[in-house]
């Protein structure tokens, strides 16, 4: 939104000009980055990476260097320590790559091309209203965190409405949701969608669950209320087609999995500041801000998520 405003200013007032420059930055300190989630009925998924200097090489090999393969990852469920084991993509059969992508959020193509390890334990399944602590050791470095899986919050109903742009669009539209916020303050939410119907290439339209920018919010303004809200479609971080990237709508007959995630305050702070960080890069309207992490000694998040999941077929409801 702000970017839009800004570009408009430039358009209206004058022609600005832009050029690529070389920026000489001192090398930054490498840190451990955790991207870990645990959902009810699902095993924990923990991805361990490292931060890099901003202008470190970006070829595939250098880039893959951020994935840590030799970490010791332990999750404690309040009773015992569970040692998670690395599952590496070179051992995943091609037939399961799509499933692995959906589970980890990593592009199936990337999983196929490179050996990426995530940490998990198939028989450790998340339980609602349970706390989980995390301990990750890489070499001599240790980072820790703790999270809690809250009660999922249900959506009352979901429906699809065609876009009204010029009255002729009978193809695209948005998913609408009605939900009732519980009458207690401090509920935090995030919305994800995934189109599971097949695209022209014969593969599911989305490989992973996608949270569009601005999908994280809380009940500060809606505590205890029943509200209707519109769900925009996000794009995969691996999407490069500019036409797709500019499109936030769903198509008629898309089959979409809608996920309403509920989470604690620290996890909410992480996702909100993460969305703000990636959407405000280069934005003069804001002061640059770091992502707020709940990882002690590192970056990233360890998030227990309450999940409400429902599938909607995009047929206009009248």
């Amino acid at each position: 939104m702000r970017k839009l405003l800004f570009s408009l200013t430039l358009l209206t007032i004058l022609s600005g000009c832009e050029k690529t420059i070389t920026v000489d930055l001192p090398p930054g300190e490498e840190k451990i980055v955790i991207e870990g989630t645990i959902e009810p009925g699902q095993p924990p998924i923990v991805i361990v990476t490292k931060s890099q200097s901003y202008f470190a090489p970006t070829d595939l090999t250098s880039f893959l260097g951020i994935y840590v393969q030799d970490a010791t990852v332990i999750v404690n469920d309040g009773v015992i320590d569970h040692l998670l084991t690395p599952v590496c993509s070179d051992l995943i059969p091609d037939s399961l790559l799509d499933e692995a992508a959906a589970l980890t959020g990593i592009d199936p193509q990337l999983l196929a091309n490179a050996n990426i390890c995530i940490y998990t334990k198939p028989d450790l399944l998340g339980e609602v209203d349970r706390s989980y602590s995390l301990r990750v050791q890489v070499g001599d470095e240790v980072v820790t965190s703790r999270t809690h899986i809250p009660e999922p919050v249900e959506l009352d109903s979901l429906w699809f409405r065609l876009s009204e742009s010029d009255g002729t669009d009978t193809v695209n539209g948005f998913i609408w949701a009605r939900f009732t916020d519980p009458d207690t303050t401090g509920n935090n939410y995030r919305i994800q969608t995934r189109r599971i119907n097949l695209g022209e290439d014969g593969r599911p339209k989305d490989d992973i669950n996608i949270a569009p920018i601005g999908s994280t919010s809380n009940d500060a303004f809606i505590n205890g209320l029943t509200v209707d809200f519109v769900i925009f479609r996000g794009n995969s971080p691996y999407e490069t087609d500019p036409e797709e990237l500019a499109n936030f709508s769903f198509a008629r007959n898309d089959t979409v999995v809608v996920r309403l995630l509920s989470m604690g305050r620290d996890e909410y702070d992480f996702y909100r500041s993460f969305e703000s960080n990636i959407s405000t890069q280069g934005d003069i309207f804001t002061t640059p801000a770091n992502v707020m992490s709940n990882i002690e000694g590192g970056l990233g998040v360890w998030a227990g998520l309450g999940v409400y999941e429902r599938t909607v077929v995009c047929v206009p409801s009248e």
Binding site: K19, E29, Y54, D107, D166, V227, P237, S276, P288, N290
Partner: protein, 803 residues
């Protein structure tokens, strides 16, 4: 310091009370422009035989008290012919002086016997006045004459990058400048996005900036005072002026209400980018219905009941209108209306030859609104301030050595820091009642400007200020999670939090000889209003907030010293000043604060507090007269901030830290019709925060910022040129009685100004951002840094007229 200034005050009061041995009388009155009747501010009036005198105050009033005798009274003002008048002081006398502008072209630009330069004479430090007539000859962005941008050419005054009308004085933030328009506070002096200031140069008579040694009659801001006086209007005849420029047009009308007793003045300006671009946006275009324009309206009326009583009523009203609509209802639509309004009603009363009083009632209103609609969701954010003020100032011309000023001020503030309303479908989202904050601000002051010896002049003052935040107010008690657990309710008028401060001000001048002096000043001030800003440019998310139980008053202390010297009969004024400024209780938003997070919590929850300091050296050389005139200003400075909760507690450079800042302003009168002007600026690059590291979350690149403001953009420099061509000032007319041809002045005068902004097309950095291209999975991923520049070389043409 506090103690010594008190001692000086007491001793000066004692001097006033001293029994005067010889019979003394006063000569007093107003100094005016002979052709328009406008009073002249800061004109010198002195007794030729004694070389003792004074300068007129902000209302053009002067008073001099000397021993009985016969003297010559001289009035002098730059650009005007000196006026000499013999006076026989055997009783108190009222002498109004009317001064005429210098002949149109003097063959030789000589400086006639002015009494020393005001520069070395007064105790003023860090004070600058702009000659509005000259400012209008300087090159301006798109031909829009801008007083605030011209101020940025003065040493110690920094701009905030390209095209920004905001100004930053000696390391202080934009909220630390007290901007007064006919004594009413203007809270935001820029139009939308900061490219243009709200002051229409046609409406301004006098503009004065005080950046150090702020006298005790001003208060409420710690860094500077910008005192702008609107024109009163011509009380002798009906006149008008105006102009047509690339992006705006102006029209001013003025004339007598009652000849030589009352006058009116109305001036308006409107931009027409919207009108110009509309024909090029077809109705079917995606952007039909979008537009941006602003307008300003200044109006003033004055009436003189007698030499003793004069009243003024003046006002300013300005609005920005920004609409963004697309033909696609799925796309968001925005409205950003904002603006300032001020009203001042003033009464000047002369009690006697030695006592002058000004009473002003003021009203200021600043509002910013942001509304957005998308699909079924509507969101709007409002913030604003309303002030009602009353102020009484007395000038007491005790004797030729002492001028006392004392008075008081009261302001009732109502702040709306930020109110959010939102609607989703049919449901009004639960937003708290607008948190309107009420506060009383009061001040009393006394200052004495006196000559201790012939060489030493002291300006000592003391200001006492109070501030109380009062109910109705609900303070939320929050737990560690930031959730509300309780509410403390304050009833209407009940004190929530009060503050008071004693503010000593001291300035001293020691005259080394006729041409040079050294000066020193100390001042301390308290500020009870703070601007919390998310970005470096003016936006709705910038919110004015009052001091509260959490937000302590901003305290500024400044020490300055300088050497001032005139050359060649004050044709050249030069000065070297050094300063050190300490600022306590500065406000910033916490890292990661969310503008929308202000809802349903206390207005000051997201703020963090810290201190700052700035020191610097300023050099200034000004050529005041001659065909070639102008100035060179250079500043070397350092400005730092220390916030326990920002940058991990480490000191960091302020956004306004500029090590080097150079400005050159030159005007050259080529011929009676042609004048040329050039300005050049050079400034150390702006300090910005860039990420040092990146990492990946959900397949997206996250920036990690480590050192705040540690990166410097490339230096800013720019040259602008302008040329103004006036039509012939006179025409030949046949005299009906004699039949001879005589030269008479034209009633209708016009001029063309041609200007080029950024002559050598420098791509000055506006901001830098990092972007990434390609796909990680495909291996063609790339990270690049991009620099955005705003204004390339821009010619402009403006036509101005006057009748």
């Amino acid at each position: 310091m506090k103690f010594s200034s008190l001692v000086l005050l007491v001793s000066s009061l004692f001097l006033v009370g001293r029994v005067e041995a010889q019979e003394r009388f006063s000569v007093s009155g107003y100094v005016k422009d002979a052709s328009t009747g406008e009073v002249l501010i800061g004109a010198n009036v002195y007794i030729k035989e004694l070389l003792k005198g004074t300068a007129t105050n902000a209302y053009g009033y002067y008073s001099i008290t000397v021993d009985r005798g016969s003297y010559t009274l001289v009035g002098s003002f730059l650009g005007y012919d000196n006026v000499e008048q013999p006076i026989d002081l055997t009783a108190n006398r009222t002498v109004n002086i009317e001064m005429g502008l210098k002949a149109i072209v003097a063959k030789e630009f000589e400086v006639v016997g002015e009494r020393g330069g005001g520069n070395t004479e007064s105790t003023d430090m860090g004070r600058a006045e702009l000659d509005v007539g000259k400012v209008q000859l300087l090159p301006a962005l798109l031909g829009e004459v801008d007083l605030l941008k011209t101020l940025q050419f003065l040493p110690g005054v920094q701009s905030n990058g390209e095209g920004n009308a905001g100004f930053y004085v000696r390391g202080g933030g934009p909220d630390q400048n007290l901007i007064l328009l006919d004594e009413a506070t203007v809270y935001n002096a820029s139009h939308l996005f900061g490219f243009f200031s709200v002051f229409n140069a046609d409406a301004v008579k006098n503009i004065e900036l005080i950046k150090g040694g702020i006298p005790a009659n001003y208060g409420g801001r710690i860094s500077s005072v910008l005192d702008i006086s609107m024109k009163d209007g011509n009380d002798k005849g009906f006149h008008g002026q105006g102009g047509i420029g690339l992006i705006s047009s102006r029209l001013t009308l003025e004339g007598p209400l009652v000849r030589e007793k009352g006058s009116f003045f109305v001036s308006g300006r409107r931009t027409y980018i919207d009108v110009l671009t509309k024909p090029f946006i077809p109705d079917t275009s995606a952007f039909a219905g979008s537009g941006y324009y602003f307008y300003d309206l200044n109006a003033k009326a004055s009436y003189r009941f007698s030499d003793k009583d004069r009243v003024f009523l003046s006002g300013y009203f300005g609005r920005d209108v920004f609409d963004f609509n697309t033909s696609d209802p799925d796309d968001p639509a925005f409205r950003i209306p904002w603006g300032n309004a001020t009203v001042s009603a003033r009464w000047n009363h002369v009690f006697g030859p030695k006592l002058f009083m000004n009473t002003t009632a003021t009203f200021s209103d600043y509002r910013f609104e942001f509304g957005a609609d998308q699909e079924n969701f509507a969101f709007s954010l409002f913030s604003g301030i309303k002030d009602y003020g009353l102020k009484v100032d007395l000038n007491h011309y005790a004797n030729v050595r002492h001028t006392l000023r004392y008075g008081g001020q009261y302001i009732f503030h109502t702040y709306t820091p930020s109110t959010v309303t939102a609607r989703s479908g049919e449901t009004q989202l639960s937003i708290q009642a607008p948190p309107i904050l009420n506060a009383h601000e009061g001040a009393i002051y006394v200052l004495d400007e006196f000559d201790l010896t012939d060489a030493i002049r002291i300006n000592a003052g003391l200001r006492f200020t109070t501030f109380s935040h009062v109910g109705p107010y609900d303070r939320y008690v929050l737990n560690d999670e930031g959730e509300r657990t309780d509410v403390i309710r304050y009833d209407d008028g009940k004190l929530v939090k009060g503050y008071s401060a004693l503010e000593p001000r001291l300035a001293a001048r020691y005259r080394l000889n006729e041409r040079s002096s050294i000066k020193a000043s100390f001042n301390r001030g308290a500020q009870y209003v703070h601007l919390a800003s998310f970005s470096s440019i003016a936006l709705p998310t910038d919110v004015w907030i009052p001091s509260s139980s959490e937000v302590k008053p901003l305290i500024g202390t400044q020490y300055a010293a300088g050497y001032f010297r005139d050359f060649n009969k004050a044709m050249y004024e030069t000065s070297v000043e050094v300063y050190y400024k300490d600022m306590q209780n500065l406000v910033e938003y916490a890292e990661g604060a969310d503008p929308q997070g202000n809802g349903n919590t206390n207005f000051d929850t997201q703020l963090v507090f810290g201190d700052g300091y700035s020191y610097g050296l300023e050099l200034f050389v000004k050529k005041r007269t001659g065909r070639l005139n102008g100035w060179v200003g250079y500043t070397w400075s350092k400005t730092m901030r220390i916030f326990p909760d920002l940058n991990e507690g480490r000191e960091f450079p302020s956004r306004w830290d500029r090590q080097h800042d150079l400005s050159v302003v030159g005007l050259y009168e080529l011929s009676p019709r042609w004048s040329l002007a050039a300005t050049f600026v050079y400034a150390t690059g702006q300090a910005v925060t860039l990420p040092l590291n990146r990492y990946v979350i959900e397949g997206r690149l996250v920036s990690e910022y480590t050192e705040r403001n540690s990166y410097r953009m490339t230096p800013y420099h720019r040259l602008d040129l302008a040329a103004t061509l006036k039509n012939k000032a006179t025409r030949m007319k046949r005299d009906k009685t004699t039949g001879e041809k005589v030269e008479v002045e034209r009633k209708w005068q016009s001029s063309w100004t041609f200007a080029i902004y950024n002559v050598y097309n420098r791509a000055n950095p506006y901001f830098i951002y990092f972007d990434n291209e390609g796909n990680i999975a495909n291996g063609n991923f790339q990270v690049v840094a991009k620099q955005v520049s705003l204004f390339s070389i821009l010619p402009s043409i403006t036509w101005n007229f006057k009748f």
